[in-house]
Amino acid sequence: MANAPAGGITPTHDTGTRVTQVFGTLAALGVAWLCAFGLLFSPADRDQRESVRIMYVHVPSAWVAYLAFGVTAVASALYLLRSSHSLTWDRLAGASAEIGVLFMGVTLVTGMLWGRLSWGVFWTWDARLTLTAFLFVTFLGYLAVRRLGGTQHQRAKRSAVLAMLGVLEIPLVHFSVRLWRSLHQDATVARIDGDPDLDGLMLFSLFVGLIAFTLLYVWLVIHRQRALVLEDALDDHGLDAALVERRAEAALQGGGR
């Protein structure tokens, strides 16, 4: 594929604009504050001691993961229901799902690290952790299906329907795991985020963490969504170039007989 763009002039803009710069810097500031406070200033918890610091990254990551999958579900529904079937919704769903899987992954890892410190075991079949793992695998499947072939609208329709099925499964998995966990009368395991008594400053920092991670999510999803726009545009350009080649092929073969 010739890398000189079809437009001839070398484009100046990449996926960044004023909007992304604003979100990017705010997110960076928020995360910086979160790390500083989380690691240095915040007091250790009475009974969880230092391990509570993990909460400042674990809870915001989990929040963004669920937010991202929510956006994917809403965007998928909008793609299906709106008669315009605009691909923007599909690309937003795809970008948000990819970022959701990333945040869900780190949520699971930090959850295990925290679990290891709090109860000495990496994985407990806690209802919430199990649902998180379920969503992680479900959306890995979603991303795999997005990469299947077909036209852009085929991809969009197939992915949107799969996202809707994903939403349908959440309550089913949630109730079955909760019903299943209720059978086990193991020791009253402290809830995963431990609900240590958060004093004002700790609560405020957790809140800053949530805001910072949400800004980070928005920044990432804007860039990723635009990258998908570029990918689709390249497909179309690719198609134009391929059409030119294909039509030339006809003239070429003509010389045969």
Partner: protein
């Protein structure tokens, strides 16, 4: 988008429109434009022969007419119905027989035809009629497809077309792997179909054989139609 006509007759097409009308149609498979701007018009009752080198797009053209290949660009109507908007409706009246005959290997010839008949509520007499027309009666009808000859499978697939009352026949290399007798029989079947009002599009390499059969020859190259003068 299931159309309301499941039981009643179709309500969309008035029969006057041409069987196939494509303008600047582009279709893509895996990023490659198999059809790169096809313009084609076929009247009802014609037998049109598409020939051209391998990979020219003959099969893709037939699959597009059968509503199996999504339209990337351009517009098209089959039997008067838009390829995109009325896709389910037009599919009901189109029959495609390709290398894969769309038959169930483990079922017998008769069972296959009866199954496809049940998909369009054709009754037993139509099934017998189709089997007769294709010379698939008696012991032949009870042979499982897996043990049938290429000719018998091809004729079974055509019987399924007849029983489905397909108005547009799309045949991809119909003469492939057939002996001389089976080929003549096939030509008779195609002529009879056209005589009874069906439109037949044939994609084939066998120029001499199908030259006589077709009312028009169209050369396909590089995903486009290259009209031959006079034809």
């Amino acid at each position: 988008m299931t159309s309301v006509d499941l039981a009643a007759g179709t309500t969309v097409d008035d029969g006057s429109r041409p069987a196939v009308e494509l303008s600047d149609v582009v279709a893509v498979i895996g990023g490659f434009p198999v059809l790169a701007g096809v313009d084609l018009r076929v009247e009802r009752g014609e037998i049109v022969l598409f020939h051209g080198p391998n990979g020219a797009g003959k099969t893709s053209l037939l699959r597009l007419c059968a509503g199996l290949l999504p339209l990337e660009r351009g517009t098209g109507t089959i039997l008067g119905m838009d390829v995109v908007d009325h896709r389910d409706e037009l599919r009901r009246r189109v029959g495609l027989v390709a290398h894969a005959n769309g038959l169930y290997q483990d079922l017998t010839v008769a069972e296959n035809v009866r199954f496809w008949a049940s998909m369009v509520d054709a009754d037993a007499s139509e099934v017998d009629g189709a089997l007769d027309r294709m010379g698939l009666r008696g012991r032949l009808a009870d042979a499982p497809i897996a043990r049938c000859s290429a000719g018998q499978r091809r004729r079974t697939a055509l019987a399924c077309l007849v029983v489905r009352r397909a108005e547009l026949w799309l045949l991809d290399e119909p003469h492939a792997a057939l002996d001389a007798a089976a080929r003549d029989q096939l030509d008779e079947i195609i002529r009879a179909a056209a005589a009874s009002g069906a439109t037949v599009l044939v994609a084939s390499h066998e120029l001499e054989r199908t030259m006589a059969l077709a009312t028009r020859h169209v050369e396909v190259r590089g995903g486009q139609i290259v009209e031959l003068p006079g034809g």
